[in-house]
């Protein structure tokens, strides 16, 4: 029987002038990603491990960098809407909305009530759809595969609503500066109601699947704790911040799109661990459903777009009879509108936190600078704090609990 191989004698090697890795001798550096299934895309983590304990965790990003902000500077304001979907492909309506609100503030226009309410319905439906993807993938990371299939089944029904309205499932570009591309089709609200009526029962099912599972509770409770003060200094927002105990929601704190009209709660956690973040998002889906139901019930009549031909093209029917309408249509789709010189930033509460577009206008038809405040990019900064000192297996649970979308981190 042979002896176990001896540990390398690092000191002897150093004295001989051998180059040694500049890390501590008792730790090991492991590369996780960018093609790791638990990294939700192409996140790469360089993890320094002491046994199974994470000593240091350094995220490396940029694998999905597509230069969206640079591209935006070369599009007219209306064309740039389509690239805002692609930033966070799980929350395209909310991205469109944040962009549209910033451009509208520059232009000094505001859509009519029906436009606001339709935007509320779409953005809250999007929030539920996005949280369902988070729920499914997060549970899958921890080993609960059933929830994944169920959550994606529900999400498909929500994407059907988007498809029914806009024709596409994921990149609708339906919310645009000045309002929406169009009103809801016939039968849409009935369909929304039907999906929303079914949702609570489904959510109960998923919660039962997870909450009554001791493995789920052991792997999430007390794991990845982050305090409110750390969250605020790190720029962490959204459900991750609320799970730490601060009831901050921009829909309440700085209402946009008439969110003040709706009655809903802001769920918060207590400990700021993975389990609290799960509870907060589950509760948020129920609150979003309440908002959607209220908005559909109280949906005002009337147009959805700004009544300003310099911003929104005229309806198709007008083109047949009015020369003015033809000119406006032509000018808007070739040159676009020109907001006055200035800067605007309208933060909204996206599914992952504060999202807003910082737009600088030089008075031309193209944004001089189009910057998105990326919620998950900022939230990812908390990863090292949550993971360091925990086990490697906890890291997988923690990544899932921040709900990262790499398309938004890398842009």
């Amino acid at each position: 029987m042979s002896e176990t191989p001896a540990q390398p004698n690092w000191q002897a090697a150093r004295s001989l002038g051998v180059q040694i890795d500049p890390i501590d001798e008792s730790t090991m550096v492991v590369n996780m990603g960018p093609q790791h299934p638990a990294t939700h895309g192409v996140l790469r983590l360089v993890i320094e491990l002491d046994g199974e304990t994470v000593v240091k965790c350094t995220p490396h990003m940029g694998y999905l960098h597509t230069g969206i902000e640079k591209t935006g500077e070369y599009q007219t304001y209306m064309k740039a809407v389509t690239i805002t979907d692609r930033i966070d492909y799980l929350a395209s309506h909310t991205n469109n909305l944040a962009y549209a609100l910033a451009v509208e503030r520059l232009l000094g226009v505001e859509p009519p009530p029906r436009g606001h309410y339709l935007r509320v319905v779409l953005s809250e439906v999007q929030r539920i759809a996005s949280h369902l993807v988070w729920l499914g993938t997060h549970a899958l990371d921890i080993g609960a595969m059933t929830v994944y299939f169920f959550a994606f089944r529900e999400r498909e029904k929500l994407l059907d609503l988007t498809e029914m309205m806009s024709g596409v499932r994921m990149m609708p570009s339906w919310i645009v500066p000045g309002g929406l591309r169009g009103d809801a089709p016939e039968g849409w609200f009935e369909r929304v109601k039907a999906v929303m009526d079914e949702l609570p029962r489904r959510l109960d099912d998923y919660e039962t699947l997870l909450d009554q599972n001791p493995i789920w509770r052991l792997r999430t409770q007390g794991v990845g704790i982050v305090s409110v003060d750390d969250c605020l200094a790190l720029g962490v927002s959204g459900p991750t911040l609320r799970a730490s105990g601060l009831a901050h929601d921009l829909r309440k704190a700085a209402p946009y799109c008439r969110f003040e009209d709706f009655d809903f709660g802001v769920p918060t956690g207590k400990f700021g661990d993975v389990y609290d973040r799960y509870r907060v998002r589950m509760a948020e889906m129920r609150q979003s459903r309440e908002i959607v139901k209220q908005a559909v019930e109280r949906m005002p009549d009337g147009p959805v777009n700004v009544d300003n031909r310099k911003v929104v093209p005229p309806p198709r029917a007008e083109l047949d009879s009015s020369m003015e309408a033809v000119i406006h249509h032509f000018k808007l789709w070739t040159e676009g509108f020109r907001p006055p010189v200035g800067e605007a930033y309208v933060p909204i509460e996206g599914p992952r936190g504060e999202i807003g577009f910082y737009i600088v206008s030089d008075g031309s038809g193209y944004p001089w600078r189009m910057h998105e405040r990326p919620p998950t990019f900022m939230n990812l900064q908390a990863l090292a704090r949550m993971a360091e000192g925990r086990l490697l297996a906890d890291l997988v649970a923690i990544i899932g609990s921040i709900d990262i979308v790499l398309g938004e981190i890398d842009r």
Partner: protein, 223 residues
């Protein structure tokens, strides 16, 4: 349109500028309030003190570091900044005083603190010591604009490859021109001489060893 933030009067009526002016005389270069958004331009050299003051003042309580970003105002056709500005870059810090409904702490106000950065000396003191969350966004601004944050603990590229040359969001950096897989022999209009092989990702079997490794390349041996 309804402004989500409370309207602020410019000048001394604005508490943020008043506080800065009182405690750090001369630090405020400009106060602008438009469309319900407040922007205070401060001296570049004293931005750390200014942000600490806004964070620590109990009445203002700017606890939430939303982000920071940069804007390049250079007009590449003239070589001069647009809109009559005298400096090429502006770095904008987006601070928010989170209102806590449980304790009543915070004001719910948002302020954009700006610093002007000349094109020939693109450096700004880092604010990572004030807000830990400035780490990633400052790296992003460094990566895409080439503005160096003095004192940043880990100033590396964050989105572009480590060995990339140039800063893509600068206005004199043209759109296009990257080496792509299917454009054999054509490297785009203007920057072919500035693009180097990205280490390890060549489709021609090159490993990028002919390219100089970036000085800030992370020490991750064995990877």
């Amino acid at each position: 349109m309804s402004d989500a933030q409370p309207a602020v009067a410019p000048g001394p009526a604005c508490p943020e500028a008043a506080l800065l002016e009182e405690r750090l005389p001369g630090v405020v270069l400009d106060v602008a309030s438009a469309r319900g958004e407040l922007r205070i331009t401060v001296e570049r050299e004293r931005v750390v003190e200014a942000l600490s003051l806004l964070r620590d003042d109990p009445a203002l309580d700017y606890r939430f570091f939303s982000e920071c970003l940069a804007v390049d105002y250079l007009d590449p056709s003239t070589g001069e900044p647009i809109l009559g500005k005298r400096h090429r870059f502006e770095v904008v810090y987006n601070l928010y005083s989170v209102r806590d409904p449980a304790t009543g702490r915070g004001t719910g106000r948002r302020v954009f603190v700006k610093v002007r950065v000349p094109g020939d000396d693109p450096t700004v003191p880092t604010v990572t010591g004030v807000y830990a969350g400035a780490d990633f966004p400052e790296r992003e601004v460094f990566d895409l604009f080439g503005i160096r944050f003095e004192g940043h603990p880990d100033l590396r590229r964050i989105l572009m490859p480590d060995d990339w040359i140039g800063h893509p969001l600068r206005k004199d950096y043209p759109l296009g021109g990257e080496r792509v897989q299917f454009a054999d022999g054509t490297y785009g209009p203007a920057i072919s001489d500035r693009v180097v092989q990205h280490a390890g990702e060549s489709f021609h079997g090159l490993t990028g060893s002919e390219a100089e490794p970036a000085p800030g390349r992370p020490a991750t041996p064995g990877l």
